[in-house]
Amino acid sequence: MYKVSIAERLFQTAPRSSHLKAHKLKSFVQHPKYLVLSYQIKYRAALMLKPISITFLLVIIIAFFIYDIKPTQNPSIANGTELSKQISKQFLFAKKGDVIIIPEGHFEFMRSLSLRVSGVTVKGAGRDKTILSFKHQKQGAEGIIATGSNLIFEDFSVEDALGDGIKVNECNNLTMRRLRVEWTRGPHKKNGAYGLYPVQCENVLVEDTLVRAASDAGIYVGQSKNVIVRNNRAEFNVAGIEIENTIGADVFNNTAVNNTGGILIFNMPDLPQLGYATRIFSNTIKDNNTANFGANGTPVASIPAGSGIVINSNDLVEIFDNDIANNQTANVIISSYFSTGYAKDISPHQNFDPYPETIYIYNNRFSGGGDAPDHLELKALKIAEFGFRGRLPDILWDGIVNPSKSHEGLLSSQYAICIDNPKSGIVNVDAGNNYSNIRKDLADHACHHPKLSPITLTL
């Protein structure tokens, strides 16, 4: 047959003798049979080159695809730092619908964990089991900073953030539950300001959390709408729980103990939203006598230690069914913007109402407190009005009223501070008139206000 294997041909024509001279080699090479063979070899080689090239090309293409495919993330679990990096990445590359599960363990972070996606749940193995520590944080003013809607944070703790523990800014439908935020060294001026910090959010639920040693407020809800803060424990913060410039908040079944001030309801000027309509009920607010360790010049730094509930420049506040006891300045303080100590500028701001109005205090159980007030002027007041061994009454009011809404220092009924509380007392210090007409008559406040409707969340 014509088709003989190349090898056979090669071997057939190859000279057997090893002592061939060059000319014989030359003639061999020029021999037609050899030429044919070489062409044949080339031809076959050429023929093979085509499939080789194709294969080569395919291999290259496939290699590019393989190279481009993201390697499946299989972090080595052995190392805690690896896991911290893994957790960071999960936050960073989160997509809508993700559930970021953080396992049990103690994880250190050098920078904030940030989330900028909606529809994400971050879930730990329990607030005493999953601990995110920012003790060695090099950058970032928060432990966790998030923005987005439909977010859930639950079952983990944040320790020692440089700034705020968990800040969620501009959110709709936020749940923070079964969390712990703490500064482990205890009350200190350099601790972060807020433990849990939803701001500019709508439909917020903060429940079953524990916050400790924040240098401003443990739980702070700012410029938000439709908020429930329930079943939390706030202790050793400057302010335990603070609701500021927020419209519609129910704060109930919480325990606020050993803070500087237990629960604060504030309004600050120069902000796009002014707050009103807050219900504070069924809370335990006791022994909030920790010395104020807030940063100088902040609003919270002006709170006297020993404040149970403090209302400042806020309207439509209902306080009922609480156990408020042993807060050494007063169990409830009601004040206007002018008493804050930081309001040097008393010119009226657009839309800002500096006066607390339509406050309704009823059916609370007061006991103790008022016996060792903070701040020199309050000490003086106590001694002057109630004697050395006396105590300030449960409710302390600066008495500064809007002249257009009052008559002879007494607020018109719809704006009044109404008190329907057995076994309580009030002192109106008349701060607006240089303390000239101090009143302690509960009869001034024998009135009622329509009750506020409960908050319903549409989470």
């Binding site: 014509y2 037609p32 044919v36 062409y39 044949q40 080339k42 031809y43 050429a46 023929l47 080159l49 085509k50 090239s53 194709i54 080569f56 090309l57 481009d68 495919i69 990096k85 960071s88 990445k89 936050f91 960073l92 590359f93 050098m110 920078r111 940030s114 900028r116 944080q137 090099k138 950058q139 970032g140 003013a141 923005t147 440089l162 700034g163 800014n169 501009e170 350099k190 300001a193 807020y194 701001v199 500019q200 240098s215 401003d216 702070y220 700012g222 410029q223 600050m268 000027p269 120069d270 902000l271 796009p272 940063a295 100088n296 010049g297 902040t298 930081y342 040097k344 500028d345 008393i346």
Partner: protein, 412 residues
């Protein structure tokens, strides 16, 4: 028929086939090679196609730059630009470039954001001058470079990172790339990083941790509208780029140059266009002064300078829609309300950041102004800007102090 003749005939046929086959094979091989090396093609055209789910891992894949002979030059169409007053980034110098696809245009806007075409690539390479006695490539000098050109020397400079903002399907994507020690390529680092740098000529800090932002931190500044959360370029706005640049072809106003390249739509050179203060003017003044009173800048110019500084360093968050709108402090250049600029304005949620001072700006009293306190801090819970720097900008503090000290009026 002799077998020999028959064989010859078959030989010639084989010869033809062989040649044809060889030719085919060679074509195939060359095609293969071409396709294989497409990625690493050595031409000068920028590659703007990418998969946002899996972006290029190396800066070289974009082909924005050409690195040879100790120099970084720009690929075709990749044009450099500079800002009047730049953002302070730990004294890093910045080489900024803009590239748009052929036959596309940028919609010009006098006051606010431009509209860029899909495929736009904006890059910013952070670099430092190498220290003279550089024991290690991480030894840098903090002397800020103000040299403008279309070339960057790799002999005298140490590249740290290149950040890209690329536009696709009407969205901007941010990608940070960190340059390797050999200065050959830069690797994508979306989780950011800390780079230890050693300063050879600082009297105070000797080493610091330069922060490469992660992509969420990119948004921390570049989402100027915090609610939408969409990334946008910050620097490419008329008031920042309305200035001259020293191009290879000459010294021209940047907007006029872009217009001459056909890049701009809606640009009207006869209009009175906003222009922020040129930072170099103040910097030279400030460095040669030791006491605030001796700054030879008139009041209006000082205000212009200070407001320009606040505009570029702060307004991406401190504007009515930005991430810091919860503060009520608006430091964008076009804000004319004294109160929201911070004059006699009490802090809202500054916490420790207030330093115990009552107002953001206390006229006539820089030492009791919260703005100065925060700009002069390197404590992460106090410092402003909160993101983007580790070191204190002495010259910036100087400028703001001078400006505030010169303000008249009292609070309350």
């Amino acid at each position: 028929m002799s077998s020999r003749n028959f064989s010859r005939h078959r030989y010639s046929l084989t010869f033809k086939k062989a040649t044809k086959a060889v030719k085919e094979a060679l074509t195939f091989i060359s095609l293969t090679i071409t396709l294989t090396f497409l990625y690493a093609c050595n031409d000068e055209s920028v590659n703007h196609h990418f998969d946002e789910g899996n972006p290029p891992q190396l800066i070289s894949e974009w082909n924005l730059f050409q690195l040879k002979k100790n120099q970084l030059t720009l690929s075709d169409g990749n044009i450099p630009y500079d800002l009047n007053t730049p953002l302070f980034s730990d004294y890093a110098s910045k080489f900024r470039t803009l590239w748009i696809p052929k036959d596309t245009r940028i919609q010009f806007n006098k006051d606010t954001d431009y509209t860029f075409p899909d495929g736009t690539i904006i890059s910013k390479t952070f670099y430092y001058r190498k220290a003279k006695e550089a024991a290690h490539s991480s030894n840098i000098s903090l002397v800020h470079s103000t040299i403008q050109s279309e070339t960057l020397s790799l002999k005298t400079n140490r590249l740290i990172e290149t950040r890209l903002l690329v536009k696709k399907n009407n969205y901007w994507f941010a990608y940070p790339y960190i340059w390797d020690d050999q200065q050959v390529n830069a690797r994508l680092a979306r989780e950011g990083d800390f780079i230890n740098l050693f300063i050879s000529d600082s009297k105070s800090e000797k080493t610091f941790s330069y922060l490469v932002p992660d992509i969420n931190q990119c948004a921390g500044c570049h989402a100027e509208d915090h609610t939408s959360g969409k990334l946008k370029p910050i620097g490419v706005k008329t008031r920042h780029i309305n200035r001259k640049y020293n191009y290879n072809k000459g010294n021209f106003n940047q907007l006029a140059y872009w217009e001459s390249l056909g890049y701009l739509e809606g640009y009207d050179p006869t209009e009175d266009l906003p222009r922020n203060a040129n930072w170099n003017n103040f910097r030279t003044n400030a460095q040669s002064q030791s006491r605030p009173e001796s700054v030879k800048v008139d009041g209006k110019q000082l205000e212009h300078q200070a407001r320009s500084y606040l505009d570029i360093n702060c307004a991406h968050c401190h504007n009515p829609k930005g991430a810091a709108d919860t503060s009520g402090l608006h430091l964008n250049k076009d804000n004319i309300s004294d109160r929201t600029i911070g004059i006699c304005k009490p802090p809202i949620a500054a916490g420790r950041g207030s330093g115990g001072y009552t107002f953001s700006i206390t006229p006539g009293n820089a030492n009791e102004s919260i703005i100065v306190h925060r700009v002069n801090s390197s404590d992460p819970a106090v410092m402003m800007p909160e993101l983007g720097r580790v070191l204190i900008h002495r010259e910036g503090v100087n400028l703001l102090s001078n400006w505030i000290s010169a303000l008249k009026g009292t609070c309350g």
